[in-house]
Symmetry: D2
Subunit: 227 residues, 4 copies
Amino acid sequence: MIKTPVIVINYKVYNTSFGNSALSIAKAAEEVSINTGVNIIVAPPATEIRTLASNVSIPVYAQHVDPVDLGAYTGHIPPEAVKEAGAKGFIINHSERRIRVDEIARLVIKARNLGLNTLVCADTPEVAAALAVLNPDMIAIEPPELIGTGIAVSKAKPEIILSTVSRIRSVNNDVIILTGAGISTPEDVVKALELGTSGVLISSAIMKAKDPKKVINEMAEAVISRK
Amino acid sequence: MIKTPVIVINYKVYNTSFGNSALSIAKAAEEVSINTGVNIIVAPPATEIRTLASNVSIPVYAQHVDPVDLGAYTGHIPPEAVKEAGAKGFIINHSERRIRVDEIARLVIKARNLGLNTLVCADTPEVAAALAVLNPDMIAIEPPELIGTGIAVSKAKPEIILSTVSRIRSVNNDVIILTGAGISTPEDVVKALELGTSGVLISSAIMKAKDPKKVINEMAEAVISRK
Amino acid sequence: MIKTPVIVINYKVYNTSFGNSALSIAKAAEEVSINTGVNIIVAPPATEIRTLASNVSIPVYAQHVDPVDLGAYTGHIPPEAVKEAGAKGFIINHSERRIRVDEIARLVIKARNLGLNTLVCADTPEVAAALAVLNPDMIAIEPPELIGTGIAVSKAKPEIILSTVSRIRSVNNDVIILTGAGISTPEDVVKALELGTSGVLISSAIMKAKDPKKVINEMAEAVISRK
Amino acid sequence: MIKTPVIVINYKVYNTSFGNSALSIAKAAEEVSINTGVNIIVAPPATEIRTLASNVSIPVYAQHVDPVDLGAYTGHIPPEAVKEAGAKGFIINHSERRIRVDEIARLVIKARNLGLNTLVCADTPEVAAALAVLNPDMIAIEPPELIGTGIAVSKAKPEIILSTVSRIRSVNNDVIILTGAGISTPEDVVKALELGTSGVLISSAIMKAKDPKKVINEMAEAVISRK
């Protein structure tokens, strides 16, 4: 079971997403998670998964895996690869790395068989509902036009979140719904929870922060304040 | 400068390509390389690069990188990522992970700027010559129909190797030319060198071997015998 | 409204799919449709749409369109292009031409705005249900492993059809459900209808037939016999 | 043999690229070609090839073909399809529809076998030289950042044209070299010829013109003035 509310930190591939910086952000997330009790997941680049997974106790997710099995697939990353490196789950279909629907379906099933969790991204309420039929563990709604803008979808387009929640719930009662795209402030996090989602998917607000730990802590405090 | 003759071990993503097995094959390759003086390069999955690079002294290459820069590219692996993890170079355009020609061109230039080496794969002599114009460090000719078959291109289609060498040399005098696809025995390696190439790209013959170290050693001995 | 039961003939790009042969198959389909009253749709290659659409009265569909608008998209085929050529609808996500889920969603909406019909293909019951959420006009279930085999899914794997119908109906009451993959005989057609679908998607059984008109007629007669 | 100098009109998929407008621009191009003696090629969308090819005497090219053979390739356009519709050649690898280098190689060979001509696009001088090794009939250099801007590459970056010509000529003496990207005025055409290329690839300047015929005529007159 994935504990909610949850904060997922998508490292993307910024210059802070690697090496010491990657590890130090994960350590900060771990400390905040322990102190506040808020579930925090970190999703570093593939090359950093093993280091993070062996150095922090919070869940590490891959940002993407390829829909292939073990075998002669040079340059691909099968789900088994990230599991072996210590990942507990992976993101699927992020708007910066979209894949086909048959591939999403296969990856969700495969993750289940491997004991890994899945976080599927969708760009519209309609697509979110379609993908909810595939029964991933989590779905994040991320209108691509707001990603990286610092303009939170929960503030700028609350109706998208509301519509996503209602459409998903008409086909799936269990999937955890997250708000992504532009989440930058504690208020954005509170708003995301108020609109009926169970957490947030954050990236640049933390990865580009002068003091990532401070931002993570503020986000977690915002989550607690809501409970 | 890349020392020749060279043996490149493409791990692909077999069940032996990860964790302890990945490391043990790299250690074996390192030992053989030190003992025989033959340049041996290992190319593990992205998730294993850092572990291998920090545990062996021979060069570690990525099997693939994405033609993106650092930034908001969730799930991608920019060249900077594999350099940071300790890679000394990367394979481009393997037949199991082909990319566009403009992307190959950009990656070769970017590798040069980052101080990384490039090994570009081609499926025909004509394509090999075209890609030689882009000045990578190495080009491997790998007829896809022979990959993984155990039927060495150097034995089954020597004319393809000869034609590749002659076509490449008509446009590029410097690039190191390798033979790939089906290389399974020490004889295949000798033949590849006799046909005018400077090394081999091997995968299943080592990754699926009962005793990978023995196979690596035989291959390296075959290389030495030729000198 | 699309009249059911319906037979959709996917021309694919066989040597019979072009020119006089393409037109003569469409003429045959038109005659059978008029004689039997069964709705028959033909889906020729893009280059044949205009000729067929201006020579037969039955609906002509495109086999694929690209998820782009009018503009600077060299080499793409926007929905507007096939409408202008006379198409009344298009196939989306055939297993030989899969696209991403966000693209499927956009194309279904765009088709609706342009007054075109959509037939979305799915490879599994689960994917079919997911895509049903996007409200296309028709969904065809086509297990890829049976396509072109002459082994009808309705005979070999009836449970897949049953599961598809029940999963789709749990999220969408309106979409027309078709059976595809391996449909070769009138019995296959009858079976498809008996299993609860409203028609078939056929290709090689007609396009590779010595006498396509005879096959089309037998299929239509089978449809009528069921009513 | 392709007569030079040559003007290639890439219709793309603007609202003027279809139906009566498509035909009327082709008719205008034909008339100008006959009056001035300048070789003019029109490249309409796939759905318009047959109509144009059966109504004008100048060569009609496809904007793109898929690297597949005849067969079970739903939604693809094999080279045979555009030949059957009347095309005399096709564009490959336009920057808005890039494909892999092995696919380019295969399409150039296939076109030769089918008696069709090829116009391969490249985004940099280096890529142009690489693709020249594959021996297409024509290569167009089109820096993507200038496409559709109205800023002609021949004016803004003449050094790119010069470098392209010299790099291509170091590996291929025969291929016809064209200038693309931003060609808008007769002066741009003259400049393209002065820099050593044998023609131009034009799109928006004609497709978005109030009076396309007038623009085509001015371009052709510019070509003649140079001879």
